[in-house]
């Protein structure tokens, strides 16, 4: 029964899983509270380590994979044995993750993504991972000559601009809290300005403009420095290779990510422009395949970040030449927009929220004894902050109403939506749409409005058309049915 093609994962599997066995660790910790002396502790530790080690060694022994006739067979389980057979043609994309420790051992975590779920060969050697990627892709590409190869990299300048445009305020705030002293040392060496001694020397009653400007400058510099470091760590050595029918994406310093994306598997292309991106003429290009939720990329969640930053023209050209998507042809079309009578519905939660906030804040200030001395100032300040928040909220609402639109083109469904002040243009292939649903309630129904959802085949690429005219559902339904008939033929 033993087959010579069967291979095991890397031995580091035992080590990494030894520390990931949370259940056993919890049992150990619960029992550790009842330990009376050192001897019992040592016995229990030995038993815990022994059981865990035995379990991991057996798991390692029984976890195998083999490649036979364009099929990957993955087996695992000690008592309950499971065998997964994956045909190469059902593989959506393959990606690898390498963290800092994996780099020391020359190993990777290889994720074979399927329509639903994934098979993770974690960890295996880089050589073996390359072999699997090559074998899987070569069977799909059938000896194609790559004659359209070109690659895109992000320079230090690009990464710096990205760091400025995507500055991480929250991380900076926590970094200042955690590393206050160390940061002060660095800054005092660079700028000859010791912020802590300066704060101590300033008279708090006198408003010092220079002092405020210096503080603001330091925060801005810190913000940029931290954003820059985070961006460099994340997108270090960014490289996007465009081959005939696939894209190869590699980036990362501590956690190296490598992906092979077949172009035909792309479900949705998304061009995102934040407010700062728009001002400087930059865009962020993302794509979603069937199973891109498996990409361990916390900051961008479920999207594959194809081009984190690039000039608008460059993105449009890349889409045209590499993904055969001419975005300009969809401009000035007859887009369907949110109806005018949906404005009130969009506003209703904000109105309730701000009314409650206004009443609550003023009652709080009125009755709080701590505010008695400065009541007038605090009234003014609180209501001014609320007014600014209402203004921002209103501007965001106007932004949403102005830009939200959708269009059913010949070969794509185009959905333009907003998130805060960002504009996101999504291009989804109609053949990738599965089911369609509409929801409405009594309030919305009175105004002939509903929420339409186009459920894509893969996860996280659904299109939500919120607050659209109910009759638009029929239009979308007929469009999808027509496209499916054409594709079937």
């Amino acid at each position: 029964m033993d087959n010579s093609n069967k291979k095991r994962l890397h031995w580091f599997f035992i080590v990494s899983n030894f520390f990931k066995n949370h259940q056993l660790l919890i049992i150990f910790l619960i029992n550790a509270f009842n330990i009376k002396n050192m001897f019992e502790f040592i016995i229990m530790s030995v038993v815990f380590i022994g059981i865990n080690l035995l379990y991991q060694v057996l798991s390692y022994y029984y976890t195998t994979y083999e490649i036979i006739n364009s099929t990957i067979i993955y087996r695992y389980g000690i008592f309950k044995k499971t065998e997964k057979t994956i045909k190469f043609e059902s593989v959506q994309n393959i990606d690898t993750n390498v963290n800092f420790i994996y780099q020391l051992f020359n190993i990777v975590s290889l994720d074979i993504n399927l329509i639903e779920g994934k098979v993770s060969l974690n960890p295996i050697s880089i050589k073996e991972a390359n072999h699997i990627i090559f074998t899987t892709n070569s069977s799909n590409t059938i000896e194609k000559e790559y004659n359209n190869n070109n690659s895109i990299t992000l320079s230090l300048k690009d990464l710096s601009i990205l760091a400025i445009l995507k500055s991480r305020m929250l991380i900076t705030f926590f970094a200042i809290l955690a590393l206050g002293d160390d940061l002060n040392d660095i800054l005092s060496k660079i700028f000859k300005f010791d912020i802590f001694s300066y704060i101590g020397s300033v008279n708090p009653d006198a408003f010092d403009t220079v002092y405020m400007i210096k503080i603001a400058m330091i925060i801005i510099i810190l913000l940029f420095m931290i954003s820059f470091i985070v961006t460099i760590i994340k997108f270090y050595n960014f490289r996007l290779e465009n081959k005939d029918d696939q894209l190869i994406l590699k980036y990362g310093l501590l956690n190296k990510i490598s992906m092979v994306i077949k172009k035909e598997r792309i479900q949705k292309i998304s061009i995102e422009q934040g407010l700062r991106f728009r001002i400087f003429g930059y865009s962020n290009l993302k794509i979603i395949t069937y199973s891109s939720d498996s990409v361990e990329d916390l900051s961008f969640k479920n999207h594959i970040n194809l081009l984190p930053i690039a000039k608008n023209e460059f993105v449009l050209n890349f889409l045209k030449n590499s993904l055969h998507l001419d975005v300009n042809q969809y401009n000035n079309k007859d887009y369907v927009k949110i109806p005018q009578n949906a404005k009130f519905l969009l506003m209703r939660y904000r109105i309730i929220f701000f009314l409650v906030m206004l009443i609550f804040t003023n009652i709080l200030i009125h009755y709080m004894p701590a505010f008695y001395d400065y009541k007038t100032y605090i009234y003014l300040l609180a209501n001014m902050i609320l007014f600014i928040l209402i203004l921002i909220s209103y501007l965001m609402l106007r932004h949403t109403i102005k830009y939200t639109a959708s269009y059913l083109a010949k070969d794509k469904i185009i959905n333009i939506r907003t998130h805060t002040f960002s504009i996101i243009k999504e291009y989804i292939m109609p053949e990738k749409i599965g089911s369609i649903s509409i929801k409405t309630n009594r309030l919305l129904r009175k105004r002939n409005i509903g929420h339409i959802t186009l459920n894509a085949l893969g996860t996280f690429s659904d299109i939500h058309l919120s607050y659209y005219n109910i009759d638009y559902f029929d239009t979308v339904q007929n469009y999808i049915a027509r496209k499916r008939e054409v594709n079937n033929e």
């Binding site: 329509i115 639903e116 069937y290 053949e431 990738k432 599965g434 089911s435 369609i436 649903s437 509409i438 929801k439 409405t440 309630n441 009594r442 129904r445 002939n448 509903g450 459920n455 894509a456 085949l457 893969g458 996860t459 109910i470 009759d471 559902f473 029929d474 339904q477 999808i480 049915a481 499916r484 008939e485 594709n487 079937n488």
Partner: protein
């Protein structure tokens, strides 16, 4: 507007109301019995006073009556508004009492079909048809057992007309 949520070809039978009410009644009955048993145990052991016992009992009874009344109402509304149809290219399900839903499920995304039934449904010869889709699942509820095989076969036949690659 009304056309979008219009009643589809197939509606639920009147028996469905009975099944829903019976299921709710049994569930509530079990819950109330457990509460009653626990309360009696507590009063025997003198953990609670007679007054507290009657408060628990009256709360229990109130919940029972309110839930049963809601069950009578919701089962009627569910039966009234739940309908489905099979078109050439998809299954269409409309439902919802207060908020209306309509689902359009093309045949080609159906992977496999399960027939699921419980003891009460079995007594009345009803089953649910659970459709496993490429992503997630959908369900056609309360179908008569004598019709279910024909419906299942019809869905599979329709599905086989499509040969789409993902």
């Amino acid at each position: 507007m009304n056309n979008i949520f219009k009643t589809q070809e197939y509606r639920l039978d009147d028996d469905v109301r009975k099944i829903m009410i019976l299921a709710d009644f049994i569930g509530l009955g079990i819950l109330s019995t457990i509460t009653l048993c626990v309360s009696i145990f507590l009063i025997i052991k003198e953990y609670i006073s007679m007054k507290t016992f009657f408060i628990i009992l009256s709360i229990n009874l109130s919940i029972f009556i309110i839930t049963l009344l809601y069950s009578l109402f919701s089962s009627k509304m569910y039966q009234k508004y739940y309908s489905y149809s099979f078109t050439k290219e998809a299954i269409i399900i409309t439902s919802g009492i207060f908020s209306k839903n309509k689902d359009y499920i093309p045949y080609h995304i159906i992977q496999n079909i399960d027939v699921a039934t419980g003891p009460i449904m079995r007594k009345y010869n009803y089953s649910n048809l659970k459709l496993h889709l490429i992503r997630g699942y959908a369900s056609i509820n309360y179908i008569k057992n004598d019709k279910i095989e024909a419906i299942k076969q019809s869905i599979l036949d329709n599905k086989n007309q499509y040969n789409l690659k993902y």
